[in-house]
């Protein structure tokens, strides 16, 4: 069957018409950031429901899963089409909560490693906004060292029984399915005894607890798995082949907004923000004419513009193979350090209002809270230190660090004091 690829112009026109007709422009009220814990649970659930609806509308309009093959309900188009969609979505609402981790890494991993039946069942459901996915990767005992997972899956007949704990799952309390890395063999080396599974989050034996962050946010969760029983058909990839899946999983995670499966409107800036956010703070502080404040505003905007340019360069380079997959660690390191710097700049511009504020302070208020959370951007999704290791060892090919966990059975690997038996 010969299929003609839709031209970028036709796609653009179609996307533009849909967006203008159906999506709401994002009104940028004051600058106060999205990271803050302002939403009640009811508001958060309503927002999630709204985003599911948006995703369904995109699906019905033929704009969901731009780079996902048609046989799984996607559009079968190219990253260039996705970039057009991103450009057209500038300034409009979109299902932001569904992008990471649902579209990447979860959907990316399913497409790469899922069986035909798994893909047929879940990919269209994801594209329709019916399934929100979560990644059960980190554990309390291992943060960046995800291959050190202790959560164990034991074979019982045709089933697997899982026990252990996973952590740092964003929004697991309103999600539907999860991808889980578990240990299936303790007698082989660390990376050789892992297997990936998927299962519905609301399953018997699964307890989801919310974690309160120091800024009051309760988006992150910790899960406790007690004899969670799942069929073998929920396995993704081979038994004990979990690290093959896992390395790609983490690659897809690092791709984040660079992933061809992720919708990321141009010009969208996260908390801490662009130059115009900083401008608003400087204005509220009466510092627009202060040269030092101008330098800070300009620095924040420079980091924003450089970050965008770098994200595009790395994304394009990986897709066209002019850069190695590992180059995504460069974008990750940049984003961590740049956002941390921007949080400092915002705090600095807010002056004394960074310590205490009133509701009347408007754009001056609450930057102190973001400053308290500053390092979160250098920790979540793999620390900046891990990114630096990846760049040095995989991009620059420098010697690997000494690793006493490689050549021995995982059971023998030294562990943190709290994890020793």
């Amino acid at each position: 069957m010969k299929t003609e690829v839709e031209s970028l112009d036709s796609f653009r026109e179609r996307a533009r018409e849909f967006i203008r007709k159906n999506l709401r422009p994002v009104t940028q009220r004051s600058v106060a950031s999205s990271l803050r814990a302002h939403k009640s649970d009811e508001e958060e659930l309503a927002a999630v429901a709204h985003e599911r609806k948006l995703q369904r509308m995109l699906f019905d309009a033929g704009l969901a899963g731009v780079c996902v093959p048609r046989e799984y309900g996607g559009q079968g188009l190219t990253p260039a089409h996705q970039r057009v969609l991103n450009a057209e979505l500038r300034g409009y609402e979109y299902p932001s909560r569904l992008q990471v981790p649902t579209f990447t890494p979860c959907l990316s991993v399913l497409l790469e490693f899922g069986t035909e039946a798994q893909k047929q069942q879940h990919v269209p459901a994801i594209l329709k906004g019916e399934e929100l996915w979560m990644q059960f990767l980190s554990e309390p005992s291992c943060g960046s060292d995800v291959a050190g997972a202790l959560t164990t899956a034991t074979r019982q007949g045709d089933d697997w029984v899982l026990n252990g704990s996973k952590v740092w799952t964003t929004g697991a309390w309103w999600s539907d399915w999860g991808l889980c890395l578990a240990r299936t063999n303790w007698e082989v080396s660390k990376h050789s005894g892992l297997t990936v599974f998927m299962f519905p989050i609301k399953i018997a034996g699964m307890e989801v607890r919310r974690i309160e962050m120091l800024n009051g946010s309760k988006e992150f969760c910790q899960e406790y798995l007690t004899d969670v029983r799942i069929p073998d058909s929920y396995r993704v990839g081979g038994v004990d082949a979990g690290w093959t899946v896992g390395t790609r999983w983490m690659f897809h995670e690092r791709m984040a907004r660079n992933s061809p499966f992720v919708t990321a409107p141009d010009g969208e800036v996260r908390a801490g923000g662009s130059g115009s956010t900083m401008h608003a703070i400087a204005r509220a502080a009466g510092k627009l004419e202060d040269p030092r404040a101008q330098e800070l505003v300009g620095e924040a905007q420079t980091l924003h513009l450089v970050g965008e340019a770098l994200r595009r360069r790395v994304g394009q380079g990986i897709v066209t193979r002019t850069l190695s997959d590992q180059a995504s660690a460069i974008a990750r390191l940049f984003v961590g350090l740049a956002e941390a710097r921007r949080a400092t700049i915002a705090f600095e511009l807010a002056g004394g209002a960074g310590a205490a504020w009133t509701p009347d302070d408007g754009d001056l208020g609450e930057w102190g809270i973001d400053f308290l959370m500053r390092q979160a951007v250098c920790i979540g999704g793999g620390t900046t230190e891990i990114a630096a290791n990846v760049i040095a060892e995989r991009v620059l090919n420098m010697p690997r660090e000494h690793a006493p966990d490689r050549e021995v059975a995982f059971r023998e690997v030294p562990r943190s004091r709290s994890q020793r038996e």
Partner: protein, 376 residues
């Protein structure tokens, strides 16, 4: 440096790189240290034949097109200039050629394009007027003449130039004038600079008179043209600095594997590996912003000014940070004349200070945002 080159761009890159390797290897750069002009006119003429000064000029004026995006193509050559720390007034020649495009100065354009003539841009001024918006140079109308007064510095290759493109203030507006180098009232004072081969002068204009016809565009009406020239200069300077960063970084990565301390290569120490990772990130980010700025300025995009300043601010700051890290990682040899590292350190140092410091560009970005917000 562009991530993907078209075959025409690749040809341009290769011919420029090969020419620079053949004609100005590091030994020649060291010889040119004591040459008062810093480059040979024959070298410049032959380089110009490769297209070094032709890409910002439309074909009807004798210009050449590689891909149709002249400035983007030209950054390919600028990058090679940086990578080889090459001599010659690359940025100023191209800015003047751009400014003259479409004007009546056909002979001068032809001379610039074939490299037989040098013309340079008298734009920057001495502190405290080195701030981007603080030009103090005066261009006053007196009947059918314009009278120029003031000091311009640093002016690149002024001693080699037959003509000056002078930017100054006329009341509330900007004016640009083409002035023959021999015009009475002009005095050149050679300056001492950080680069081995790039030469700068202080050029004083005292009651210098030129006919009205010497003006490029209207009197007091040049702000848009000046902004365009500045953006082009910033892009070329950034692209060149990124080339120098790349050369120094490659050299320092090689060093990490070759140099052993305490029985281990430097590349095996995590404390150093992380610093290399940081440098790789600065470098890749510099490539990214420099290319993004080139595209925006070439296309006349609404955010071109902001991106050009962001490129200058970022590459200016992290270019020299990267080079100083390279020096640190080399140890003592890194601060010797014998080692090649300083060739590139000089280049990024120049690029950081010319046409506005990183701080000056951050303030400029803040003003652009303020204008945008006021208009919104």
């Amino acid at each position: 440096m562009l991530l993907e080159l078209s075959s025409e761009q690749e040809f341009f890159q290769k011919t420029t790189a090969r020419f620079l390797e053949d004609h100005v290897p590091v030994a020649e750069l060291r010889r040119l240290r004591d040459d008062p002009t810093g480059f040979k006119r024959d070298y410049w003429r032959r380089g110009a034949e490769l297209g070094w000064t032709s890409l910002l000029v439309p074909e009807e004026d004798g210009g050449v097109s590689v891909s149709g995006r002249g400035l983007v193509d030209l950054t390919v050559a600028a990058h090679e200039f940086g990578r080889h720390a090459a001599p010659g007034p690359f940025v100023s020649s191209n800015v003047v050629a751009l400014a003259l495009s479409g004007s009546a100065h056909k002979e001068l354009i032809a001379g610039l394009l074939d490299g037989s003539e040098i013309a340079t841009w008298c734009f920057s001024e001495a502190p405290p007027h080195d701030e981007l918006r603080e030009l103090s140079f005066s261009i006053e109308r007196d009947g059918e003449q314009l009278v120029l007064n003031g000091l311009k510095r640093p002016v690149e290759s002024a001693d080699q130039a037959s003509q000056f493109l002078v930017t100054g203030r006329s009341g509330g507006g900007l004016t640009q004038v083409i002035v023959p180098a021999g015009t009475p009232g002009i005095t050149l004072t050679p300056m001492t600079g950080v680069d081995l081969t790039r030469r700068f002068s202080a050029v004083r204009f005292e009651q210098v008179r030129v006919p009205l016809s010497a003006a490029l565009g209207g009197i007091g009406d040049a702000a848009v043209a000046v902004e365009k020239q500045l953006q082009h200069a910033l892009v070329l300077l950034a692209a060149e600095a990124v080339g120098a960063m790349q050369a120094a970084f490659d050299m320092t990565v090689e060093w990490a594997f070759d140099r052993y301390s305490f029985g281990r290569p430097l590349a095996s120490y995590q404390a150093l590996k992380h610093r290399y990772a940081q440098m790789a990130t600065w470098l890749q980010a510099s490539h990214a912003i420099s290319d993004a700025a080139a595209r925006a300025v070439n296309d006349g995009a609404p955010d071109a000014g902001e991106l050009a300043s962001a490129a200058k601010a970022y590459v200016g700051e992290y270019g020299s940070e990267l080079l100083q890290e390279c020096v640190q990682l080399h140890g003592g040899i890194g601060v010797t004349y014998e080692h090649d590292l300083h060739l590139f350190l000089r280049r990024v140092t120049l690029a950081r200070a010319l046409f506005g410091t990183p701080d000056a560009h951050r303030r400029r970005i803040a003003r652009l945002i303020a204008q945008k917000e006021a208009a919104a």
